[in-house]
């Protein structure tokens, strides 16, 4: 029995290297399923089990992706879409933060607004599009409005919950040191609620991206979602799938980027709660 641990310890890697290896192996595990699906897809296409008009092979999708890229169509459409997300996200998160903070701080504001807010938020973004089209037309303002609505809801809800969950003891500390309301909000409420606020913003961003694609599918003449509609109308499914890949990758990058930023800014939270 005693010889076994010794042989194991002889094999032990330096901790840093071992850490990298675990991270790497976890990354590989995550890739296993998509790689398997990719192989299956290639197999189906090669064997022609499904007609290539319906299911173009991965290589063809890659080709049209590269073509989109080299023709500059990808960059221009993606740029338009990202600008829409940016504006919608900015407007929606500003409105959501304002609303959520007000509802979190004041039970009276909550009593006035929350039921209506919930009712509005329960109608999905797509359900608002017909009404919004009548009000603001189908130009840029429609996209920004739809995205802003999708962002506002999770941002407001998380801001409110975050503030509600600030420990009562922290408010008492603020009272002991005679903080004004504004100082209490700035020095106590917002920092304490920051993890929850960050969560809301992240949810909001991923909502924004999904709402963007939805509204571009419905009413747009440019943008990444439009590219997909265009591909479908021409029955170029390789184009449709190429845009799907782009949408997925960009969504992932946005989410991970924000998560990275959050982890960097909120180091104190890592083991505080």
């Amino acid at each position: 029995m005693t010889s076994i641990p010794r042989s194991v310890s002889a094999l032990r890697l330096p901790p840093v290297l071992a850490g990298y290896l675990t991270a790497l192996s976890r990354g590989l595990l995550a890739l296993l399923l998509p790689l398997g699906l990719l192989l299956l897809w290639q197999l189906i296409a090669e064997q022609q089990w499904i007609s290539p008009q319906l299911l173009p092979p991965p290589t063809q999708v890659l080709d049209s992706l590269l073509e989109l890229y080299s023709s500059g169509e990808l960059a221009s459409n993606l740029g338009i879409s990202l600008a829409r997300v940016l504006w919608g996200f900015a407007a929606g998160s500003a409105a959501g933060l304002l609303l959520g903070v007000a509802m979190g701080l004041s039970p009276r504001v909550e009593a006035y607004l929350l039921p209506t807010f919930k009712a509005i938020s329960l109608v999905p973004v797509i359900g608002w599009v017909p009404l919004f089209i009548l009000f603001v037309g189908i130009e840029e303002s429609l996209k920004v409005l739809v995205i802003a609505k999708a962002v506002m809801v999770p941002v407001a809800i998380n801001a409110m919950k975050g503030i509600r969950n600030v420990p009562v003891g922290f408010f008492e500390v603020a009272r002991l040191y005679r903080f004004s309301l504004w100082r209490t909000v700035r020095k106590v409420v917002l920092p304490a609620a920051l993890p929850s606020l960050a969560n809301g913003l992240r949810l909001g961003l991923s909502n924004a991206w999904m709402a963007l694609v939805a509204v571009e599918l419905l009413a747009s003449s440019e943008g990444i979602g439009y590219l997909m509609v265009y591909g479908r109308q021409l029955f170029q499914l390789d184009l449709v799938m190429a845009t799907m890949v782009v949408i997925g990758v960009v969504g992932l990058v946005l989410d991970q980027g924000l998560q990275l930023l959050e982890r960097h800014l909120l180091t104190w939270r890592n083991s505080a709660y």
């Binding site: 007000a102 003891g169 922290f170 408010f171 008492e172 002991l176 100082r183 304490a192 104190w268 505080a272």
Partner: protein, 274 residues
């Protein structure tokens, strides 16, 4: 130095409404505390000792009777009274230094003076070198030291301690009791310690106020006529402890917990202008 810091309580009564009926939690508390004195208040849970401290610090202002600090009635929180809670209540997003600085937000001191006094108080609680540490990096005992530094940094006239070592392990607690004795002697500040640990009460207090529950009232006040700094093994302390413990020798009455005192409202306490 400590000519100020006289605290007197006169016929203090406090009750909470429970099911429409007033439930008395403190009944006729009268106590005079001398400048620089260390008072321990000891009692079983539910005897209102923490409520008493909340009245003294000004977190609750609904009561009958008078609380006078140097002749002035106590009304609301003030920088002249410092407090340390059992849960240290440090803000996890601030460093040790910033947490202590929090107490000085409304202080009239200049920035340079603030920096000096913060450094002095961190040194007073023996945490020099940990200024940039975050609360999650500190042990329970270290956190409580930071809380003591925060409670003292405004140089209040009186320091209130609400079971400050109640959540610590026995060894850390014993060590911090000695530390507290040293800090109290160095500062010469009037101190009120609420605790359920009779050993702690006797070891630190110049006088020990023994409280009785339902309703909370003073049973008796036991002087501890031993000079500081005290030695833990002192037989005279042990004798006093046994004497006080005899007051609690009755088995606690087995009753269901009464509705706990309502927590103070939080944001309604601020007058909001929406």
């Amino acid at each position: 130095m400590s000519a100020i810091g006289t605290l007197s309580l006169k016929h203090l009564n406090k009750s909470y409404p429970v099911k429409g009926q007033p439930l008395s939690v403190l009944e006729d508390i009268s106590l005079d505390i001398q400048p620089g004195e260390f008072i321990s208040i000891v009692g079983s849970s539910g005897c209102g000792k923490s409520t008493l401290l909340r009245l003294l610090i000004g977190l609750e202002d609904q009561f009958d009777g008078e609380i006078l600090l140097d002749g002035q009635p106590v009304k609301g929180p003030s920088l002249e009274r410092g407090i340390v809670f059992q849960d240290h209540r440090l803000f996890p997003w601030l460093t040790v230094e910033q947490n202590v600085a929090l107490a000085l937000e409304n202080s009239p001191l200049s920035e340079a003076d603030k920096r000096d006094t913060i450094a002095q108080h961190i040194e007073l609680v023996s945490l020099t070198g940990f200024e940039k540490a975050y609360p999650h990096q500190l042990s329970g005992g270290m956190s409580q030291r930071v809380a003591i530094a925060r409670g003292l940094v405004n140089r209040p006239r009186i320091l209130l301690l609400d079971e400050p070592f109640g959540a610590l392990d026995a060894l850390t607690r014993a060590h911090l009791q000695v530390e507290l004795q040293r800090i109290w002697q160095a500062e010469g500040i009037t101190t009120v310690l609420v605790t359920h640990d009779v050993d702690e009460a006797v070891f630190l207090g110049d006088r020990v106020v023994v409280m009785q529950p339902r309703p909370g009232r003073i049973k008796r006040i036991v002087p501890v006529p031993l000079p500081h700094p005290r030695v833990r093994g002192d037989v005279r302390l042990a004798a006093l402890r046994d004497d006080i413990l005899a007051d609690f020798s009755d088995a606690p009455r087995e009753t269901l917990i009464e509705q706990p005192a309502p927590l103070p409202q939080r944001f309604e306490d601020f007058v909001l202008a929406w």
